[in-house]
């Protein structure tokens, strides 16, 4: 139904076979409105933001700030709580350095989970080496359940950082419940929303998390743009960990006066053209309606799930029935061979460790195959995928 809005499906044919793109958890394709916005902006509105006093700069500044407004409404934040970054990884690293580094001391506890993407593990380990705090991981089973959250919370962590939706298992964590429990123990909570925002209504006020981070490129927008939401009182209280031009009101040899939030966290010329194009992506999603998208993905996920569980040698991990993320293993066939074989039918799936080595170790696997859905997929795509998968199984048996 929505496929016609995405030019890639007209263009990326291979041996006359249409593209079946099932790797949206890695990055989504882009609708023509987002793609066309970029040359349009460069050709008609290009001037640096927040600096010029001439028309062109005021126009680009207006459009850039409009996206902050659109983004804040999209997740029910206030405008000043939205900081544009390079992506989820950048957002998490920023939080680790401007905030976590200031509050963590030796012997403090940070809780992560075994289902985290490397982007929500590596920055913490780097800081741990510097400060010496402890990191405990919430254990995860094959179904994607979080096993010992309550037990770990008994140790009074300072920070809990966890994903909203697992990029491998597809499970949707009960972030409202998790935040409540963590806050009761006095912990700050960061939610990695990279896999969630494009699939469901995210309301940061309702979740009550202290930080929520996500990327544009996983929600139909350009690469190189991300969002760091943080509660305004936190942004106001802490200084940025890196700074420079445009983030400050005045600079003398012995003093810096920062701008108000969120600008003190956005030094230098931002990637404003891509941010504005990201605004087009959110508008595209809002035009369809996020609840309608959620229902569409859920229906297609159930269709996919019913087909996958009927494949005899296939084992599913986690639960992707609501998120459209299905990771699986097929007996005696390496995920790379599955992905390469499907690629010959122009079907794109992901194979590998999905930047989640800790989870792979927990599952005792070196890699998994993953198919992930978005609104441009339809039942025909799933039929082609299943047929190619069955062909691959026959080939290798």
């Amino acid at each position: 139904m929505y496929k016609k809005d995405f030019p890639i499906f007209r263009n990326a044919k291979f041996m006359n076979k249409s593209l079946v793109y099932l790797d949206s958890a890695s990055s989504t394709q882009k609708p023509h409105t987002v793609i066309n916005a970029i040359p349009y902006l460069y050709e008609n509105f290009y001037a640096n933001v927040h600096r010029g006093i001439y028309k062109l700069s005021e126009e680009s500044t207006g459009m850039y700030e409009d996206v902050r407004d659109i983004t804040s409404k999209f997740i029910n934040a206030s405008k000043k709580e939205i900081v544009f970054t390079k992506g989820t990884t950048d957002s998490i690293n920023m939080i680790v350095y401007f905030f976590a580094k200031k509050i963590l001391k030796k012997n403090d506890l940070v809780i992560l989970s075994e289902m985290e993407h490397h982007s929500n593990i590596v920055p913490w380990i780097i800081l741990q080496k510097e400060i010496g705090f402890n990191i405990e991981y919430i254990k995860v089973n094959e179904k994607g359940d979080l096993l010992n959250l309550d037990l770990l919370l008994e140790h009074n962590p300072k920070i809990l950082s966890i994903t909203h939706v697992s990029n491998v298992l597809g499970n949707i964590n009960d972030v409202i419940g998790i935040v409540k429990k963590a806050h009761d123990k006095g912990a700050y909570v960061l939610i990695d929303g990279a896999q969630a925002v494009s699939h469901m209504r995210v309301d940061v006020k309702k979740i009550d998390c202290d930080f929520y981070v996500f990327s544009s490129h996983k929600m139909l927008g350009p690469t190189g743009v991300g969002v760091m939401y943080a509660k305004s009182e936190i942004l106001e209280k802490y200084d940025p960990s890196f700074s420079g031009g445009e983030a400050v009101i005045s600079v003398s040899k012995d003093n810096i006066v920062y701008k108000d939030i969120p600008y003190k966290f956005e030094p230098g010329t931002p990637n404003f053209i891509d941010v504005i194009a990201f605004g087009y992506a959110i508008s595209y999603i809002e035009k369809i309606g996020i609840l309608k998208i959620q229902k569409y993905i859920e229906d297609l996920s159930l269709y996919t799930y019913d087909k996958l569980i009927n494949i005899e040698r296939l084992k599913l991990f986690g639960d992707g029935r609501k998120s459209g993320i299905f990771s699986f293993h097929i007996e005696n066939i390496h995920p790379h061979d599955i992905a390469s074989s499907l690629d010959e039918d122009n079907i794109a799936i992901r194979a590998g460790h999905h930047c989640a080595k800790i989870l792979m170790d927990r599952l005792n696997l070196s890699s998994l195959s993953r198919c992930s859905l978005y609104i441009y997929n339809d039942e025909r795509d799933i039929d082609k995928f299943i047929s190619s998968l069955n062909k691959t199984i026959d080939l290798f048996s």
């Binding site: 390496h334 790379h336 061979d337 390469s340 590998g352 460790h353 070196s366 080939l395």
Partner: protein, 124 residues
């Protein structure tokens, strides 16, 4: 040459892999890891009087990786150590009939070859 990994030729090689397992007696054991996928290949080589007398490998890798281990080891078995300097990656792909395989899959095939080259350097 065939870009497809589903060619009957490579599948047949895969189903008839040789040298799989651990040698009882070996002079070199080398563990290799593909950072792209985390797969691990372990090579075992028995050298006697500068001659490669026996070879074997263990692997958690994919079909391309395993067939490449088999073919690479087959190309050096029974030869003098100098063969490690002479073998070319193109020849391995040629022998597997996958010369035009995609760049990401070439890395799967390269793992054992790269390991043999570094053994060649170490045994100068």
């Amino acid at each position: 040459m065939n870009r497809q990994i589903s060619s009957q030729y490579i599948i047949d090689l895969y189903k008839n892999i040789k040298y799989y397992g651990k040698l009882k007696k070996f002079t070199i054991k080398k563990e290799l890891q593909n950072p792209l996928c985390g797969d691990i290949v372990t090579l075992y080589i028995l050298i006697e009087k500068d001659k490669i007398v026996d070879v074997s490998f263990e692997s958690s890798g994919c079909m391309i990786s395993k067939v490449a281990s088999f073919i690479s080891l087959d190309m050096i078995k029974g030869k003098d150590l100098g063969v490690l300097k002479k073998i070319k990656f193109e020849d391995i792909l040629d022998n597997m009939m996958i010369k035009d395989i995609s760049p990401s899959r070439k890395k799967c095939a390269y793992l054992t070859f790269g390991g043999l080259k570094s053994i060649g350097e170490e045994y100068k």
